[in-house]
């Protein structure tokens, strides 16, 4: 329990900074929502007939930014990106920091098994990403409520939040697994590379639908705001795939971490 609380305290400042940044981004984005003109609908109608690439370059992504759901849908990719960066770096850091701070010996001579330490760290990281996720959801909801959110908007916000959470869990567990493996000198770098590549692949996939299958390794491709709004549900099969990945990464973390050499 001590380790759990110690970790929560260690990340207090980190959580506050990230929460404030996310709140600031959401507030700034909503600043102009009410004056967002709807006179562009005529243009949109015409543009819909154009090829996909042309549409994407014009910022059309199947979302209608004049509705609340559509507006948050536009923001979804960017909030997802922020939350993924946070969760991935957190997962890598919470494991790797003992070695970076030279506190390995201090922690591991305590009468606690490695699995127990790892579990405490895992639960601490999990609590942190849940807090960040809920702050994102509640801020979005509060902002949406100000402009009169309907039940569909609420449903969409919850859907986005679940999608956010899956992405957070995915990148967090991958970060932890990489940090536990010692295949990479810097786990944070590996996670950063992964997130960056995933984001770029999602951009390529939207620009060139023909390349979508190649890009489908990127989780950002599958959690698309537009399709979530129209279908009213998550992409189930992909959520399943990522569920399996999350569990695999967690198990791998335990297996590798329990029996590896620790740098002191």
């Amino acid at each position: 329990m001590n380790i759990f609380f110690r970790e929560l305290k260690a990340y207090r400042k980190n959580v506050i900074t990230w929460s404030l940044s996310i709140i600031a981004v959401l507030f700034a984005s909503m600043a102009k929502y009410d004056v967002l003109s709807s006179d562009s609908t005529a243009t949109v109608k015409f543009l819909e007939q154009f090829p996909a690439t042309v549409q994407v370059i014009f910022g059309m992504n199947g979302l209608d930014p004049t509705t609340l759901s559509g507006y948050f849908g536009v923001l979804f990719l960017y909030t997802a990106l922020m939350l993924a960066v946070h969760a991935g770096l957190l997962g890598a850091d919470i494991i790797a920091k003992e070695e970076q701070e030279r506190t390995t010996e201090f922690l591991y001579v305590k009468p606690r098994s490695r699995s127990l330490i790892l579990t405490a760290k895992l639960i601490a990281a999990l609590s942190i990403i849940i807090v960040i996720n809920l702050i994102t959801l509640s801020t979005s909801y509060a902002l949406a409520a100000k402009y009169g959110a309907s039940t569909t908007t609420t449903r969409d916000l919850v859907l986005f939040s679940i999608a956010h959470f899956i992405l957070q869990l995915l990148f967090m567990t991958i970060g932890m697994a990489v940090a536990a493996s010692r295949w990479w000198k810097s786990a944070a770098k590996a996670v950063a590379l992964l997130i960056f590549t995933s984001y770029l692949l999602s951009v390529v996939a939207s620009l060139q639908p023909a390349l979508r299958t190649v890009c489908s390794i990127s989780p950002f491709v599958h959690f698309e705001a537009a399709s979530m709004i129209t279908s009213g549900s998550l992409p189930r099969e992909w959520a399943g795939v990522y569920g399996v990945l999350i569990i695999t990464a967690t198990i791998a973390t335990y297996l590798m971490y329990r029996r590896r050499d620790l740098r002191v």
Binding site: S21, V25, A28, S29, A31, K32, Y33, L36, T43, F46, L47, Q49, F50, P51, A52, T53, V54, I57, F58, P65, V74, L75, Y78, L81, M82, V85, H86, L89, A92, D93, A96, K97, Q100, E101, S186, A188, K189, A192, I195, F196, L200, V203, V204, L207, Q208, A210, L211
Partner: protein, 266 residues
């Protein structure tokens, strides 16, 4: 000179990795162009069927994208995103190297002023950025020429590429400043990624809500690439803001580096 050479040697692998990564990213995007130009032909035919009023309103903004440079301007956002990560990572990394490897006392007890250490490190970082940039320019020029996008103005192409260097120098300065303001940098990439994506998202949101004031703090939006590609005009006001901020950040970083209390290793 020793410090400069040492830093260059330390950064050799990262230089290689980034030169390849940046070239790959831009080449990946450029390789979409042939398919895109096919779409353009289809779009032109579509456009011809529209009533003249619509055609005039739409055609103007569409035609901007219908050139190679217009397309290049669009993808350039993502290239600069990667470039910014490299630059800030470099600026931060080079300045906190001693803190991280606990060699502060080793370096600072040498008979060399902090001023010269700072300058050597800055020069090494700029050299690395320039070297990456040259590789990037060669790769993009070669590919653009290979895919047959021959109708563009080479001077414009070079100036657009040069904007990447500008943004990189801006983020290098930011990295230097953050390295001196942060009490302790445990993970360089964590700071880099948070800041770069943060500024990127600020820029995107500025575009979504169409607020010009946000542009002051959105380095990715200081230059409107598309506007430059089509009209050849650059908004000088934002360039000046960018340069002022860049110099300000570097000088503040320098002043802090000279004066700052350094933590000894033991």
């Amino acid at each position: 000179m020793n410090i400069y050479r040492y830093e260059l040697r330390r950064l050799r692998t990262s230089l290689l990795a980034w030169a390849i990564a940046l070239s790959l990213i831009s080449c990946l995007f450029i390789s979409i162009y042939p398919a895109f130009s096919h779409d353009i032909t289809a779009s032109r035919e579509l456009l011809a069927q529209f009533p003249p009023v619509v055609r005039n309103a739409l055609g103007l903004s569409l035609s901007a994208f219908f050139t190679f440079l217009g397309f290049y301007a669009y993808i350039f956002t993502y290239v600069t995103l990667a470039g910014a990560v490299q630059a800030m990572n470099l600026g931060l990394g080079v300045m906190v190297r001693e803190d991280q490897s606990k060699t502060t006392d080793f370096l600072l007890t040498k008979p060399i002023t902090r001023r010269r250490i700072f300058i050597a490190k800055l020069a090494a970082a700029i050299t690395i950025l320039l070297a990456t940039f040259i590789v990037f320019c060669l790769a993009t020029a070669l590919l653009s020429w290979t895919i047959g996008a021959t109708t563009f103005d080479p001077a414009k192409f070079i100036i657009m590429n040069a904007m990447l260097l500008g943004i990189e120098l801006w983020f290098l300065a930011l990295g230097i400043l953050v390295s001196q303001l942060a009490r302790k940098v445990r993970s360089v990439i964590a700071y880099t990624l948070s800041f770069v994506f943060g500024f990127f998202i600020i820029g995107v949101i500025g575009t979504i809500i169409g607020d010009d004031k946000i542009r002051y703090i959105a380095p990715f939006k200081y230059i409107d690439y598309l506007n430059y590609a089509t009209n050849g005009t650059i908004d000088v006001k934002y360039i000046m803001i960018g340069i002022t901020l860049m110099l300000g950040m570097t000088l503040t970083g320098y002043a802090l580096y000279i004066k700052r209390d350094k933590k000894a290793a033991i």
